[in-house]
Assembly symmetry: C2
Homo-oligomer: 312 residues x 2
């Protein structure tokens, strides 16, 4: 897709995925407006417009969208864990903000919105694996419920007002710019602990299986979704492979060249036992696949963490 | 189920379904607390506790639930049509209120909550008919989205806190105490116009198909759901038959013994073309079926409307 000179707004730009996406868009010559509550890595936003603020504030939201031709909505106010503790706040900050975004887009008329949903939470406990986009959607966290509900408002706004959109149900992304914060990003947490020679604490017995996707591949999927012209609206984006937490730990050990001590804690009720996404729809429609092998991706993550994390 | 002496709270008691449910509960000897913004038929609440107010007000909500052993949640702040015009208000008044209700129930611990969802809107445009509870859920109205989301919070609260619930996805109910108000209740509207010798205005060409269920049958399903002990949580409640708007008009003409003039208007975008519910799960699990034949049910509706509607 031609991105050179296009006016692109990235909501949730300051975080892990947003930072990577903004860098990729800038490299392709897009005129990037990055919107977020904070910048984890301020240096990377050079040459972009930065809008500081929370899109739950309607004034910030309008400023963020004004004149945008293409919008990526990656903003999350909660995590699966925090959402269950603050269910109404999660609805207000995530779902209502997304509906308000769609209302503003009725005026702004961007040519497309790409919404990042959650392949790890919208399905809930799988009846079979891998999960296709048609699998039952019975989330076991408030986070998953509001993500799923938001998806349905996108479909409604397309039907009622012709708002153009694509939804990516993203698996567990990892890679550069992910920090071991806020109960997210087990890879970042594992790598950090390994580099610090600290024991890794994990929830459960380590058998929990996730579909880990390298962030460069996830960003490629977002760009592909921005220019997709087929019928489907919603795509699973993952590696298509399942890896247990213990698999990840072994890969991190190999990449760091040392053993890591592991402490096992009780399982968390909002964790589904296994998620593996069927990514054949994205392969066929977006001509996209997660190209990066797992072990080299872990190695690149370790190298990045060694060089760039402040205060490690 | 033994209802005699049980403390039962009905939310949304003043409306069509709520009025019928309260009468049925009272007849069975339950201690009924009826909660609503208004009473359409104040006389029927004799011998019951009446709590006047909007459950969107947390104070009213707590007063409504205090000491309740069994809760029926029938309250709706919107219709499919109005919800699309006020999407954020619909989330606030319906979805957030329902989540707040669930939060209060973590303290009150009623033995069960029966939630009335919408078989006519949660599925969206059917890919095949009749619709089983496993059919895809892609609502085309904000009303359908918040109903579906609310269902998922019930499941979440059961998983996290052991809140006991059943969901009924109700088809189009009709019968006594339904008034031709607020874009709801085509049967009531048709009967009223027929009795007044006024032309009936319908959206579309009259070919729209709905699953009409007589209110006595719907109330029986609610009582059956209150005492169900099997695994399933969500049940379609309908007649299992599809009838077009023109079918309904013919039945009303037969019941009234006169012809009705019909005016056709444009279709509404939030109307799905056809809904017929597969009710085999309710039959097997709740030992319930819609026993009342359609034509006698229409006749009873006409008789009621002739006798009881003020100012007809």
């Amino acid at each position: 897709m031609q991105l050179r000179g296009r006016r692109v707004t990235v909501l949730g730009a300051g975080g892990f995925l947003g930072t990577n996406l903004c860098i990729a868009l800038r490299r392709k010559g897009a005129a990037v407006r990055a919107v977020g509550r904070r910048q984890l890595f301020p240096g990377v936003f050079k040459g972009m417009e930065w809008v500081q603020g929370d899109i739950a504030d309607p004034y910030i939201l309008t400023a963020a969208l004004e004149g945008a031709d293409l919008v990526f909505h990656l903003a999350n106010a909660t995590t699966p864990h925090s959402s269950n503790a603050e269910k109404i706040g999660d609805i207000e900050e995530n779902l209502i903000t997304t509906v308000r975004l769609l209302e503003v887009c009725r005026d702004i008329r961007p040519s497309r919105i790409v919404y990042i949903s959650s392949g790890g939470t919208v399905y809930g406990i799988p009846k079979s694996l891998p999960l296709s986009e048609q699998a039952p959607t019975d989330p076991i966290s408030a986070y998953g419920i509001t993500k799923l509900s938001a998806e349905k408002y996108f479909a409604l706004f397309e039907r009622l007002y012709g708002i153009d959109y694509r939804v990516l149900r993203l698996a567990n992304p990892f890679g550069p710019f992910q920090l071991p914060h806020k109960n997210q990003g087990v890879v970042a947490a594992f790598v950090t602990h390994a580099l610090r020679d600290e024991p890794i604490q994990i929830w459960g017995d380590g058998s929990v299986v996730r579909d880990f996707v390298f962030v460069d591949d996830a960003i490629d999927a977002m760009l592909a979704a921005a220019s997709h012209f087929g019928e489907p609206r919603t795509f699973n984006i993952g590696s298509g492979y399942g890896r247990s937490l213990l698999d990840v730990i072994h890969a991190v050990e190999a990449a760091c060249g040392k053993a890591i001590s592991v402490q096992f804690n009780g399982g968390r009720i909002e964790d589904v036992p296994a998620v593996i996404l069927d990514v054949s729809l994205a392969r066929g429609e977006l001509h996209w696949t997660a190209n990066t092998e797992f072990e080299p991706a872990i190695l690149r993550t370790v190298r990045w963490m060694e060089c760039f994390t402040p205060g490690l």
